[in-house]
């Protein structure tokens, strides 16, 4: 769990697009060093929370405070936030080597009219090493597998030297083994660097043993607390709209199974 320094505060926020409200009366505090898992059904407003934090969207009501900035000034915090959005696979013909892509994470730090320096390259190489992709620095990004590309994009956020990581379903469209590798890397980085992480996922199993708290949102804040309080059969059954069973693995860790557990 992180220390008590509050770095994000959403206070009674309403947000959405035109006539469609995505979030209602949401209040949330995140503390430095914390790993917050965010779960909820599709259209629950999970990504909207990230857009509010990044200042890509303004609340219709309520207030947002990020790293000491509030109101329209929230966008000033952007260079200190590493954001990995949901994405599709990168086109094989896409321009840029792996190192080029990771260096992009440095650009907001370097600033306008300034060039990339040796120190920026060192930081980018270090970020690649943190996701075990340093050997691929000169490869075209489009030639990597989906899992490798996702690691490179995580490295890009790390190269930004952020205080906060916002990861929006980073394991979507990856096979099970690659998901586990990536989750393991993200957990390792969180622990090693003490980074604050907000992690949206549909795969609640990834949060077990990783998240300090889990936020269950469905347009409103439905529940928030330690994983063992939130990831319960009644709560998850309601969230998925299907029966959910929580089994215990041989190593003692719980495992969530969605579907008909009596089949």
């Amino acid at each position: 769990m992180g220390n008590e320094e509050r770095i994000i505060a959403l206070d009674d926020v309403n947000a959405g697009y035109a006539e469609q409200i995505a979030l209602e009366n949401l209040s949330l505090e995140v503390h430095r060093g914390e790993f917050l898992g965010i779960i909820g059904p599709n259209g629950a407003g999970k990504t909207t929370i990230f857009k509010l934090i990044l200042g890509l969207m303004e609340p219709m009501a309520g207030s947002v405070q990020v790293l000491g900035y509030s109101g329209k000034e929230v966008r000033k915090a952007r260079p200190r936030l590493g954001y990995l959005p949901q994405r599709e696979e990168i086109d094989p013909q896409s321009l840029g080597s792996v190192l080029d892509v990771v260096l992009m994470g440095r650009y907001s730090r370097i600033g306008l009219f300034r060039r990339v320096r040796a120190r920026d390259r060192e930081i980018a190489q270090r970020a690649l090493a943190q996701v075990q992709m340093e050997k691929f620095a000169s490869h075209p990004i489009g030639h990597l597998s989906g899992g490798q590309q996702q690691r490179v994009l995580v490295a890009r956020t790390l190269a930004q030297e952020p205080e906060l990581l916002l990861l929006d379903e980073p394991t979507t469209a990856l096979d099970v083994a690659t998901q586990q590798d990536l989750i393991h890397s993200i957990g390792g980085i969180h622990r090693a660097l003490g980074l604050t992480v907000l992690f949206i996922t549909h795969n609640v199993n990834t949060l077990i043993g990783l998240a300090d708290r889990v936020l269950y949102v469905n347009r409103r804040l439905y529940a928030i607390g330690p994983p063992e309080e939130i990831l319960t059969e009644p709560m998850l059954t309601e969230m998925y709209g299907h029966e959910v069973a929580i089994l215990t693995r041989p190593d003692g860790r719980p495992c969530v199974i969605v579907g008909d557990s009596h089949a």
Binding site: L56, P79, P85, P92, L95, M104, G142
Partner: protein, 289 residues
């Protein structure tokens, strides 16, 4: 062979074709990679409406071409946002609107004006000293701005959403890029014409895209193809008394054909796709077993 150097109009044609070849092909890299090819065609037609209005009311055709193309670019963005339309729909609306205006202005002239048709089809040999100075200034400004903001544009091309989230001023830079495209199109009109200018912007960049995974190399190759096509096209035009705009565009089209046919990048991609499919299948069969 070199008797043409004694003719001022030929020297101006040569220098302007080189400049237009470089600036169009470099701007083209950002047009192609940002998926703005259609908007560029719209700009060319809007500029032509400005040119025809200029001849109709006796005002500077180039100044009005700049005004028309910039206003059209900004309106395309505005209508797209406010009307919640896809960009291609709002471009389609303004593309036909400005062409209709151009035809209307030509109709109102009541007499044939050869200069108007010079802008439509291009006339490198008719480039004046003033035109050349304008092309030189615009080329210098556009290339300097693209160099200054190269890394920001690189980020926007790769992932505009993350670039904005990281604090890159994507809105301002996108508007600046559209403005640079508009101005480049306008100063190139006299040399290659409304109909062909966009080929000189899109085709060298599309050719370079076949050969490299690096944005920097793509810029270099595109500039090389653009200038080569301009020089060869101008030579063919002079030697065989052919329209210069057409010979330039046909030359760059041949270069594009060759680059596509022998693209090592395309072959690599096909190989990579095959290899990754095999890897995925292997992984899946391991998981299943």
């Amino acid at each position: 062979m070199l008797e043409w150097v004694h003719y001022g109009f030929m020297v101006r044609a040569l220098i302007s074709s080189l400049l237009v070849g470089v600036v169009c092909s470099v701007v083209g890299v950002f047009v192609v990679t940002r998926g703005l090819s259609f908007i560029g065609a719209g700009i060319a037609h809007a500029a032509f409406a400005g040119v025809t209005l200029g001849f109709l009311i006796g005002f500077s055709p180039l100044a009005l071409a700049v005004v028309f193309s910039l206003v059209t670019v900004w309106l395309i963005q505005l209508v797209g946002k406010k009307g919640q339309l896809r960009l291609d729909v709002s471009i389609g609306i303004f593309f036909s609107l400005t062409m209709a205006l151009a035809i209307l202005f030509i109709g109102l002239m009541r007499s044939y004006n050869a200069e108007v048709y010079g802008y439509l089809f291009g006339n490198l040999l008719g480039v004046t000293r003033q035109d050349l100075i304008l092309i030189l200034i615009v080329s210098a400004v556009v290339l300097t701005l693209l160099t200054l903001f190269f890394k920001e544009y690189e980020f926007i091309i790769f992932d505009a959403e993350v670039a904005e989230a990281a604090g890159i001023p994507t809105g301002v830079l996108s508007l600046l890029l559209l403005t640079m495209i508009a101005v480049t199109v306008v100063v190139s009109l006299k040399a290659v014409g409304v109909i062909l200018v966009f080929a000189l912007i899109v085709t060298p960049a599309a050719s370079a895209y076949q050969l490299t995974h690096s944005l920097r190399k793509m810029v270099g190759l595109s500039a090389l193809f653009g200038t080569t096509a301009s020089l060869i096209g101008l030579f063919l035009s002079y030697r065989f008394d052919l329209p210069s705009g057409a010979t330039i565009v046909l030359t760059i089209s041949v270069i594009f054909g060759l680059c596509t046919a022998f693209s090592p990048k395309r072959k690599q991609c096909e190989w990579t796709r095959l290899e990754s499919t095999e890897k995925e299948q292997k992984k899946m069969s391991n998981v299943e077993s």
